[in-house]
Amino acid sequence: MDLVSFLIQLLNGVQYGLLLFLVASGLTLTFGIMGIINLAHGSFYMMGAYMAFTLTSLTGSLALALLLGVFLSIALGVALEWALFRHLYHRDHLEQVLLTYGLILIFEELRSIIVGNDVHGVPIPGLLDHSIPLTDTLSYPVYRLLMSAVCLLIAGAMYVLIQRSRLGMMIRAGASNREMVQSLGINIGLVYRLVFALGVALAAFAGMLAAPVTSVFPNMGSQVLIICFVVVVIGGIGSVWGAFVAALLIGLADTFGKVLFPDLAGITIYLLMAAILLWRPEGLTRRAGP
């Protein structure tokens, strides 16, 4: 591999990792703060992608679709938290696994009934639909670069939200001691609802953002879910910063694994996970706070 190829592969890995981070961050938040294991998280990603498809064909604009989609997914998150998830906070993980497994079945089947099983493409907005030549043969799509920029922006915003804002303080406090926070007069139920909705919105937003480059297809959620689990495990549960590092690691391991060890391509990230678990069973950042 020459230097140019190496750098481009590096870019590929980082770009894939950033997208993974977007999905995994919502997952790690609901794990860490509410103690909920949510298998249906991948479905939110899938729903986001399908929303991007449906809303773009309705409104004719991806930007508008993104905006509408974020509102819709927040509404969905609030509704789901109210109807189902708030009943799970005090239940054991087993029941959480079960209920969210049932949700996957429901969401996939509803998707099949409402939108069908076809594969759809989402057009890249005309303004962004070109590529920058990097070498004499290879160009890089502008949209992908923009995607990475947006992911970075959101990661930054999350950092500020959690570390610097009042809401973030409540979130962090609620994660460590729910009763204490409640007795201080903070409506922890509301905080949880907001965090859950935020998680749903992040996954759906990732799905919408990725839809133009990944296309939209059934079962796209479960593929992402498992990889996000690995990200959360490596990063350490509840740690957004850990998820960020882990997502980049996975992105790079996956990309370079495919190039350097093509025969092991499917297993590379799991081997990485096993190695990290041997070294640090609780993940890279052992609950150093979100």
């Binding site: 190829s5 099983n117 076809d118 057009p123 290879l138 949209y143 992908r144 391509a265 499917g266």
Partner: protein, 387 residues
């Protein structure tokens, strides 16, 4: 307790059903085992539509036997394959199994057909071994073997003067078989495969492979992808700026049923398959008109394969007066049938796989227009078949 009662009622009901004397005389129980949900649902529907169209054109009969349908959704899940197939054969007592799309599931059906002796007609799954080492008197295929379109594409790529090629596909059986078929034709013609690249199925993150292709600078790229992967690959290939610099070739599935989603990125692509748009065949025109009338949409290659599965059974049953119990004569007649298909007339090889033309097609608008014949009367070599 209610659960137990339910179980009991269920089992007893089933016993009663099983005890009903079978009215085998001039009836054909067809077990359609196809994907009706999941990624391949659309293909399962098209095959079913095609099959039923042929039956309806015969007044609800095939070769004088009244057709009765039994349907199972195989979900393209091989883990449930043996159970679903045995449900049709052992519970519903079907005479013939028709299915399926997914090769792994088809292999499970094959296993049941082998154990029970049921007739099996495969309207899509392309695993080479089904009409290769596993070939059997009661197993027929009306679609293709993985080797066939791959070999045809290999010929095309070599004929068009490309010498150095990179291949890319999913790392699973069909993908590997399609590369083998391609290499055989391409290397025989003096070409060289620079690198065989595989990505885990069903991953669709192609960026790192595209980067490698750009670095290797081959004369052409050969791929097999289908469905969602095909849409994404074609778009990514164009977005990486490779489409205008390194020609892309693939099996017809790359652009089959995906053109709307692929848009501009697919325009001009060359692929090979046993069916195409704009074939100058009277049977095809009639078939398309009838299909449009019946289902309100354009038929595709899958509908054709389903249609021909029924036609093949029709040919066999005609020879035995609709009596499916005359198995040997039925199989003989099916073996020797000449099927007037919308894709052009085809006959079967000794291993029961179609000997057929493979067309070279080019994407124009949202059609795969035929621009020539990639390989005429191409027969699968049926390696390992002892029949």
């Amino acid at each position: 307790m209610t659960r137990l009662a339910l179980t009991l009622a269920y089992l007893l009901g089933a016993t009663a059903l099983a005890a009903t004397p079978a009215l085998a005389q001039n009836r054909l129980k067809v077990g359609l085992m196809l994907p009706y949900t999941g990624t391949y649902a659309r293909l399962g529907d098209a095959i079913t539509n095609g099959f039923k169209l042929a039956v309806d054109e015969n007044g609800g009969q095939l070769g004088g036997a009244r057709v009765e349908y039994f349907t199972v959704d195989d979900e393209s899940n091989p883990a449930k394959g043996p159970e679903n197939a045995s449900l049709l054969v052992k519970r519903d007592k079907v005479d013939v199994l028709v299915g399926t799309v997914h090769s792994g599931v088809a292999l499970a059906m094959y296993k049941v057909a082998r154990d029970t002796g049921a007739l099996l007609v495969i309207p899509n799954a392309g695993a080479d071994e089904l009409t290769g080492p596993l070939c059997a008197p009661n197993v027929f295929r009306t679609s293709f073997s993985a080797w066939q379109p791959s070999y045809a594409t290999g010929k095309v790529v070599a004929d068009r003067g490309h010498r150095k090629v990179v291949t890319l596909t999913w790392k699973y059986s069909f993908g590997e078989q399609s590369v083998r078929g391609f290499k055989e034709a391409f290397e025989n013609a003096g070409g060289e495969v620079l690198k065989e690249m595989y990505l885990p199925f069903p991953h669709v993150e192609f960026q790192s492979y595209l980067t490698e292709i750009a670095a290797l600078k081959p004369d052409a790229v050969y791929v097999f992808f289908a469905g969602g992967g095909a849409v994404k690959f074609v778009k990514d290939y164009a977005a990486a700026g490779l489409k205008d610099r390194i020609p892309l070739y693939g099996l017809g599935f790359l652009t089959e049923g995906t053109l709307d989603a692929q848009g501009d990125a697919a325009q001009g692509l060359l692929t090979a398959l046993h069916y195409a748009d704009g074939l100058d065949i009277p049977k095809d025109r009639a078939f398309r008109a009838a299909y449009r009338k019946a289902y309100g949409e354009e038929p595709d290659v899958y509908a054709v394969q389903g249609y021909d599965a029924a036609q093949l059974l029709h040919a066999g049953l005609q020879a035995v007066g609709g009596d499916v119990s005359r198995r040997d004569a039925l199989v003989k007649a099916m073996e020797n049938a000449s099927i007037e298909s919308p894709r052009g007339t085809f006959t079967l090889s000794k291993a029961h796989n179609p000997i057929q033309d493979f067309y070279l097609r080019q994407v124009v608008g949202n059609q795969n227009k035929v621009i020539g014949v990639a390989a005429a009367k191409l027969a699968d070599p049926a390696r390992g078949c002892r029949m």
